[in-house]
Symmetry: C2
């Protein structure tokens, strides 16, 4: 558990809005740097729907840098590799199959043409249930740090160098800074940019998703032993299906994504879906895909996928207010790396608050300047990469859904996408987080020296 | 000059179809490996139009690996850095400017908003006139290697392990193998794939180009001293303008690229262009762009840009016939790296023929098997990367021509492309050609052992 907070004048206080994974991981990191942290979560508690979430090996290393206890929390919440994790399999993890072709082989009942495979390394991804990880994180955060049922209404920067948070229940809180970790529909983002700014509203990606959990024995009957136990993408025109084992291989998590040329009119992003829509989207596909689709329930949720692609945030901070995670750069899920970007953000911010502490130990009057410099550095270090992910995730799904997969003549063209997918995956998986930490420290130190406390340039 | 060729039975003979840069560079490389080489060029000679061509520093290093005399030939043909080549400028070479905005600054008459800059390194690109480089290459090739006025009609694989080339003039030549370096409209490609194969015809990229050479003093008046002396892209909706100094800074080479939603109906890819088309495409753009467009002549050529994007070649070799350079993977010019891919191809093939020589020194009967293995290895090593470039070059131009550049609200989105452009440029500039050589040797040796001379697997 992070150390006790000293209440002297040199302490920095941070209000984190949103108690999702990024908010809690950041809270742990800041507490470890002796920052006074409060997390305000609008929900009643942390028992959410049991959706799965996966982290790259690189993101797990970032967690380790922030605080090794976060990794312990992840593992104690039942995280397992999302694939067989076989050290002897040189191409463990990601395989893309031709989902469309009906080609079959007599001696291989589950035959599908493999288009590409990519080795994410041993334990390249670890997956867990989102609610269980949140619960484990709550356990390593001291009592009184997290307050639930706190829906943010507005934020005011005070002239005495504080930020005031006003909540829907009428309560008022103060802190030196506010970090919005409040997800894709971030209230902090719309306060930062203005409610009429286009980036205050996420945009529809024109993809919908249907998910289900399939008992392993049924998955094996549908896909064969090997495919059921390893992550696979089945790609084809205007849709794809992805599945990987979860819950100690008791279940296979399956998700079908379908292109939707229409606008999404509903206020809510989850609607009632029909299995018939799924069957129609995958009509004429490979028998293995049909076998999996058959295992989806008759009535199921239809998730509209939104992101911040079309109108990205032009900046992630202003004064003493900052955005991190999905609040800053909500992405579609096609690289399985949305949360990983938020973990990288948290490592960057934890690094910065360590620097802020150093600055104000030397000069307590520089607190405001140090905090604003920290947030400006965060924007400079993080915005390019995290907005790249939003773009890249869209591009990945476009590749999976290429209409050319159905046209024999254009097939070679469609296949040339994999070199790019490899590069994009590697950019995510092999991120030089130590280099990011160095750049963060260097950028902060240069900027904090460049101008004096009053903000005028030297 | 490469060594004299010995005429013993262990010598391999290669017919190179096409005496462009890739064909001649490959000829020099193969001659250095004591291969018996003939180059068949359909033109009368090597005095082509004086278009400029540039090579990345990486491609120059590949030339050095093939034969240092190629680099000498390049430099002796007047190649100079395409930018100022200022070692003290940390961001030498590539700058992207907002070409669309009319925003001006009183004290900076040539002000344009800079969108991005990328350091290609000192001498990151070297440019020369295509005809002059070809002339220099011809000088380092022994007499009787190159035959002009040889238009290939067809190629026949003979049962005695030879390939027969039949030319339009009725002459017949024989060699152990044929390598088609005959460019985007490659005859060898259509013979390899079949004339009705979609990849036998290049496709229209829906971009046209207009080029001119501007005397440096006029370019300085139009753009200011700094921009005239350094490579810049001016990007905006549906068009872009690029310019860089050439000919020892006596001229600035300027090229305007315009999106064209129509099909290209003309049989020829060069048509008569009108300056009025240019003026219309850049109407309302920045004053600096107008200044440059004004300097284009009234009558000028309109170049339709074709490539092999939509229908890439499914394989680069079949039996004893192989494709290299544009014949294999003709790209649009937006990364300035089309010829560089052909130089990488030549390094790969030179490496392979060194290996072939080794194999047949041990076992002269293995010649046919060794050659086919070499070509299969070439396909495996080169196809992915070179087809990636074709895709990437299209993507780069799409970024430059984003309609969003004209929409204030979508500007931030448009700008997020630069992280991807950086990655794509780095993938070209920092290619691990030594790794490619290692992979080539290893791939060949594994495959040549896998099967015996008769081709049956062990």
């Amino acid at each position: 558990m992070p150390g006790q907070i000293s209440e002297d004048n040199e302490t920095v206080s941070v209000a984190i809005v949103g108690g999702g994974i990024v908010g809690l991981v950041l809270a742990v990191g800041l507490l470890r740097q002796n920052i006074k942290v409060k997390v305000y979560e609008q929900a009643k508690g942390f028992r959410e729907i049991g959706a799965g979430i996966a982290f790259t090996a690189n993101a797990v290393k970032c967690m380790e840098q922030i605080d090794p206890e976060i990794v312990t929390a992840l593992r104690s919440s039942g995280a397992v590799p999302t694939s067989k994790g076989d050290e002897t399999d040189p191409n463990d993890y990601l395989r893309w199959l031709d989902g469309y072709s009906k080609m079959q082989k007599k001696d291989e009942p589950y035959y599908q043409r493999m288009l590409y495979r990519l080795d994410a390394g041993y334990k390249g991804f670890e997956g867990c249930r989102r609610d269980q990880f949140l619960e484990s994180l709550v356990k390593i955060i001291p009592p009184n740090v997290i307050e639930c049922r706190k829906r943010l209404e507005t934020v005011e920067e005070m002239c005495e160098g504080k930020v005031r948070l006003i909540f829907a229940d009428g309560s008022v809180e103060e802190a030196d800074t506010v970090i919005g970790c409040d997800g894709i529909k971030s209230r902090v983002r719309s306060l930062l940019l203005g409610e009429n700014h286009p980036a205050s509203q996420p945009g529809y990606t024109h993809k919908v998703a249907y998910r289900t959990l399939i008992p392993m024995e049924d998955a094996i009957k549908a896909l064969g032993e090997y495919k059921a136990n390893n992550q696979h993408y089945h790609v084809g025109p205007n849709a794809h299906l992805i599945h990987y084992p979860v819950a100690n291989r008791k279940f296979v998590n399956a998700a079908a994504f379908i292109s939707d040329p229409e606008e999404w009119e509903d206020e809510k992003t989850v609607a009632v879906g029909e299995k018939a829509d799924l069957i129609a989207a995958f009509a004429g596909w490979s028998p293995c895909v049909h076998n999996v689709i058959d295992l989806f329930p008759e009535k199921l949720d239809k998730w509209a996928i939104f992101d911040l692609w079309q109108y990205p945030a032009p900046y992630y901070s202003k004064g003493r207010i900052c955005l991190a995670g999905d609040a800053a750069h909500a992405s579609s899920p096609h690289h399985g790396a949305g949360a990983c970007m938020g973990i990288e953000d948290s490592l960057c911010l934890t690094t910065l608050f360590k620097e802020v502490n150093r600055t104000i130990q030397e000069d307590p009057a520089a607190k405001g300047h140090a905090l604003m410099t920290a947030f400006e550095t965060f924007d400079a270090v993080r915005r390019t990469r995290s907005q790249w992910l939003v773009n890249s995730s869209r591009r990945a799904c476009d590749f999976y859904h290429q209409p050319e997969w159905a046209e024999k003549d254009k097939w070679v063209k469609a296949q040339t996408c994999f070199e790019e997918l490899k590069d994009r995956s590697h950019k995510i998986w092999y991120f030089d987080y130590e280099g990011m930490v160095d750049d963060t420290v260097q950028g902060y130190r240069e900027n904090v020296l460049l101008s004096d406390g009053s903000g005028s340039e030297v």
